[in-house]
C-alpha cells in the first residue's frame, strides 16, 4: 500500500515513516510543505495520504486546505489528516463532499500503532475515521435532542464507535459482545434516528456523521 506523508517536523516525519514501513506500508513520498504535498499527491496518486494540518508556508491550516484541494482534483483520494487539535469545523469541511475515504485524528493516536495503522487502512479502503474527541463533542452537543435521548446506554456506545468509523466486528470486539448483537443495536439505532438502514459499513458511518452534524 503506497503512502504519501506530509509533516514539517523532521522527528515526527521520520517516526511516521518508520512506523508505517514497519507495518508493511510502502512510502511513495514524504514532504514537508503544502505545495510539496499537492504536487506529490497529484504525481504519485497514492493509496492514502497522511497529512498534518499545520504546514508551511503559512503554518496555519495549509495541510488541510491542500488535502481538500487535492480531493477536488482527484475525487475520493483517501486522506488521513493528523493534528495536534481536533476541530469540529475542520471535520465538517473534510466530510463536506460526502465521498468518504477521509480520516481526522489527533496526533496522539500514533502512539497506538495498531489502531493507527488500522485507521490508515480503513481510510485507504474508502472508510471514514473520526477521532473520539470529535465524536464525543458531536454527541455532547446533540445530547439533549429528542431522538438521541431515546437511545439506550449501550446503543449510544455503539453509535459513538460507529461514528468513529469502526466496523461491526471491531465494535463487537471492543464491547465484548457478538457481531450479531452489534448489528441488532445498529438496526435499532437507525430506526430510532429515522435513518435509512444500510449493510455497508461506510455508508452507515457517513449517515451517522451526517445526522450528528446536521
Amino acid at each position: 500500500m503506497r503512502v504519501v506523508i506530509a509533516e514539517d517536523l523532521f522527528l515526527l516525519r521520520d517516526g511516521l515513516v518508520r512506523l508505517l514501513e514497519a507495518h508493511g506500508f510502502e512510502l511513495a513520498a514524504a514532504v514537508d510543505s503544502a505545495p510539496g504535498l499537492l504536487a506529490a499527491l497529484l504525481e504519485h496518486k497514492p493509496d492514502v495520504a497522511i497529512v498534518d494540518v499545520r504546514l508551511p508556508p503559512t503554518f496555519t491550516d495549509d495541510g488541510l486546505r491542500a488535502a481538500i484541494e487535492a480531493r477536488r482534483e482527484v475525487p475520493g483520494l483517501p486522506v488521513l489528516v493528523l493534528s495536534q487539535y481536533v476541530e469540529q469545523l475542520y471535520a465538517r469541511e473534510l466530510l463536506a463532499d460526502g465521498g468518504g475515504a477521509v480520516g481526522y485524528l489527533l496526533k496522539d493516536r500514533v502512539f497506538n500503532d495498531d489502531q493507527f495503522t488500522d485507521a490508515v487502512r480503513a481510510v485507504a479502503a474508502g472508510g471514514t475515521v473520526m477521532d473520539t474527541e470529535v465524536v464525543s463533542k458531536l454527541l455532547g452537543r446533540r445530547a439533549r435532542d429528542e431522538p438521541l435521548a431515546r437511545l439506550s446506554a449501550r446503543e449510544r456506545e455503539v453509535l459513538e464507535l460507529m461514528a468513529e468509523g469502526r466496523s461491526n466486528s471491531a465494535i463487537a470486539q471492543r464491547l465484548f459482545v457478538t457481531e450479531k448483537a452489534v448489528s441488532k443495536h445498529s438496526t435499532s439505532i437507525f430506526t430510532k434516528l429515522d435513518l435509512a438502514p444500510s449493510d455497508d459499513d461506510n455508508r452507515r458511518v457517513l449517515a451517522v456523521l451526517a445526522y450528528l452534524n446536521g
Binding site: 494540518v53 491550516d61 495536534q84 469540529q88 469545523l89 465538517r92 496522539d108 502512539f111
Partner: protein, 542 residues
C-alpha cells in the same frame, strides 16, 4: 371647623353660611378619602399610606391658599377647592400632578399680585386678599412677603410636577427628552423660562400680568414656546439659558451704571423705565440694585457654563479638559487592567507548564531510566513501565493542548475571528446559529479578546440560562466590530454579579470596547459587544 374656615379666620374674613357648607363638604370628602386610603387593601406599606394621606391634605390645603390668592370669590373658590376634593376622592392618581398645578398657579398668581399691586388688584377689586401667610390689601410689611412666597410656590410646584411627571408614562411623553436620565440629572435647560421672562419684561414693561387680555396671552405664548423649545432640544436650551443669563447680567450692569433720571427711549419700551427682574429701575438706588442683580445673574451664568453647557467650553477652545482628563483616567485604568491580566496570564501559564507537562516529562525520563535497568533482568516489568510511560506522554500532550487553546486557540490562529466564532458555535452544547459577516481580519489582540468574550458568554448561557438555542451575529460597520450573542433562556442575568463578564468587560475596555447586557426575567438574554477597530485585508481564503 375645617381648613377653609380656619384659614379665612386667620386671613381676617368673617364667616358666612355658604363657606361653612363648602368647608363641611370638603372636610367630609377628605376624611372619607383618608379613611379609605388608610384601611384599603392596595399594596402599600403603612408609611406609603400615611404619605398618600399627607398628599391629599396638602392638595386641599394648597387649593385653599390658591382660592385665597384668587380673591375669595365664592364661585372661584368653590370651583378650585371642590375640584381638589373631587380629585382626592375619585382620582387619587392625579393628586400629585394636581398639587403641582395648584402650586404653580399660586406662584403665578403671586407674581401677578406683585406686578399689579400699584395699579389696583387684578383679581380682588380692591378688597383685601390673602396670599399664603401675607395679607394684601394696603401698604404694609406683609406685601414684601409676596415675592419670596410666589417664588417658593413656583419652584416647589415645578419640582413636584417634574417628579410626578417623570414617574408616569403619560408624564414622560409630555416631558419628551427631558424625561431621559441624562437631562433629569442636569435640569439647567429649565432656567431658560425665567431668563426669557426677565428679558421680555425688560423690553416691554407691564407685559406680565398687565392689562387683560394681552397680560395673559403674551406670557402664555412666550412661556409655552420656551417650554416647547426646552422639550425638543434640552442641550441647546441649557446652553441658551446660560448664555442668556450672562447677557442679562451684563445688560443689568449696563442699565444700572448708565441710569439717568431722564429715562430711556427704547423702541419697544415707551414707558421710559425698565423692569429688571425684581426691580423697576426708576431711581438711582434702584439702578444700584440693578447693578448688583446683574452681577449675580452673570456670576451664576458663568458658574453654570461647565455643567450646563460643556459643549460651549469646547467650542470656545478653553477646554475639553474635563473630557480629556476623563479619557486619561479611563486609559490609565484599562492599561493597568491589561498589564495585570497579562502578568496573571503568564503566571498561570508558567504554573500550568510547571505542574503539568514539565512534571510529566520528568516522570517520563525516570520511567525510561527504570526501563533501561529492568530490561535485562525483568522484561515483563519493563513492558508494564513502557506502557505507563506512553500514558504519561499522552497526558502531557493533552495538557499542552488545553494550555495552547487557552492562550491562542488554533482556529483563531488559522482562520481568524469569523471561523473561530463558527467553531465556538459548533463546540457549544447549545444549538448555536452563527451569522458572521467579517470579510477580513481584525487586529490580532482584538480578535483574541473578542473570541474569549464570545466563549465566556456562550459558556454562561450553557451553564445558567437553561436555553437550548442561541445565536451569534457579528459584523463590522462604521469602524466598529459589533457582536450580539442571544440565548433564548430564562433571562435575569446580572452583568455586575458575574465576575466572568466583568473580566470580559475590562479586557474589552483595553480596546475602548464596550459590553452591554439585556436580560429581562423570562429572557431572552442578549449581550452586545462593540469594539472600534479597522477591518484588515481579506482573510486567507479557505
Amino acid at each position: 371647623m375645617s381648613v377653609i374656615t380656619a384659614y379665612r379666620y386667620l386671613a381676617g374674613y368673617g364667616s358666612a353660611a355658604a363657606w361653612e357648607l363648602l368647608a363641611a363638604l370638603v372636610a367630609a370628602c377628605v376624611i372619607a378619602a383618608a379613611a379609605r386610603r388608610l384601611t384599603g387593601k392596595d399594596a402599600r406599606t403603612p408609611r406609603g399610606r400615611l404619605r398618600a394621606v399627607g398628599w391629599d391634605a396638602a392638595l386641599v390645603a394648597l387649593s385653599v391658599v390658591l382660592a385665597g390668592a384668587l380673591g375669595w370669590r365664592a364661585g372661584l373658590a368653590l370651583a378650585v377647592v371642590g375640584a381638589a376634593a373631587v380629585i382626592v376622592v375619585f382620582r387619587p392618581r392625579l393628586v400629585r400632578p394636581a398639587t403641582a398645578a395648584v402650586l404653580i398657579a399660586t406662584g403665578l398668581a403671586g407674581f401677578a399680585l406683585t406686578r399689579t399691586a400699584s395699579f389696583g388688584y387684578y383679581f380682588g377689586d380692591g378688597v383685601r386678599q390673602a396670599y399664603g401667610v401675607a395679607g394684601v390689601g394696603g401698604p404694609g410689611l406683609t406685601f414684601y412677603l409676596l415675592l419670596p412666597q410666589a417664588l417658593g410656590f413656583l419652584l416647589l410646584g415645578g419640582w413636584v410636577g417634574w417628579r410626578s411627571a417623570r414617574s408616569a408614562p403619560a408624564g414622560r411623553r409630555l416631558l419628551g427628552r427631558l424625561a431621559e436620565p441624562e437631562f433629569a440629572a442636569r435640569p439647567w435647560a429649565l432656567l431658560l423660562v425665567p431668563v426669557t421672562v426677565i428679558a421680555a419684561a425688560m423690553l416691554v414693561p407691564n407685559l406680565w400680568f398687565g392689562a387683560f387680555p394681552a397680560g395673559i396671552i403674551w406670557p402664555v405664548l412666550l412661556t409655552g414656546a420656551t417650554g416647547l423649545f426646552i422639550r425638543a432640544a434640552p442641550g441647546r436650551a441649557a446652553a441658551a439659558s446660560v448664555l442668556g443669563l450672562i447677557a442679562l447680567g451684563l445688560a443689568g450692569v449696563y442699565l444700572g451704571t448708565t441710569y439717568s433720571s431722564a429715562g430711556w427711549h427704547l423702541p419697544l419700551n415707551p414707558a421710559g423705565y425698565v423692569e429688571y427682574g425684581a426691580i423697576d429701575v426708576t431711581s438711582q438706588p434702584m439702578a444700584d440694585l440693578a447693578v448688583i442683580e446683574g452681577l449675580v445673574f452673570a456670576g451664576v451664568g458663568l458658574l453654570l457654563v461647565p455643567r450646563a453647557a460643556p459643549g460651549l467650553l469646547r467650542y470656545v477652545g478653553v477646554a475639553g479638559y474635563r473630557d480629556l482628563a476623563q479619557r486619561v483616567q479611563r486609559l490609565t485604568e484599562s492599561r493597568a487592567v491589561a498589564v495585570d491580566t497579562a502578568a496573571a496570564d503568564l503566571r498561570r501559564l508558567e504554573r500550568d507548564l510547571h505542574d503539568g507537562a514539565q512534571a510529566r516529562l520528568v516522570a517520563l525520563g525516570m520511567h525510561l531510566r527504570a526501563v533501561e535497568k529492568l530490561i535485562p533482568t525483568n522484561p515483563d516489568a519493563a513492558l508494564a513501565l513502557v506502557s505507563e510511560a506512553r500514558d504519561t506522554s499522552a497526558r502531557a500532550l493533552t495538557e499542552l493542548r488545553e494550555l495552547v487553546r487557552g492562550v491562542h486557540p488554533p482556529v483563531l490562529a488559522d482562520r481568524g475571528l469569523a471561523d473561530a466564532i463558527r467553531a465556538l458555535a459548533l463546540d457549544s452544547p447549545l444549538r448555536v446559529r452563527a451569522d458572521v459577516d467579517l470579510p477580513g481580519r481584525l487586529p490580532a489582540p482584538i480578535e483574541t479578546a473578542c473570541y474569549f468574550a464570545v466563549a465566556e458568554i456562550l459558556t454562561n448561557a450553557a451553564k445558567h440560562s437553561g436555553a437550548r438555542e442561541a445565536c451569534i451575529t457579528a459584523e463590522h460597520r462604521d469602524g466598529a466590530l459589533r457582536m450580539v450573542v442571544t440565548d433564548f433562556g430564562v433571562g435575569g442575568a446580572d452583568a455586575a454579579a458575574g465576575t466572568g463578564l466583568t473580566g470580559v468587560e475590562r479586557r474589552l475596555a483595553t480596546f475602548d470596547g464596550v459590553l452591554a447586557v439585556s436580560s429581562p426575567p423570562g429572557g431572552p438574554t442578549m449581550v452586545v459587544i462593540e469594539v472600534p477597530c479597522a477591518l484588515g485585508s481579506a482573510a486567507v481564503s479557505s
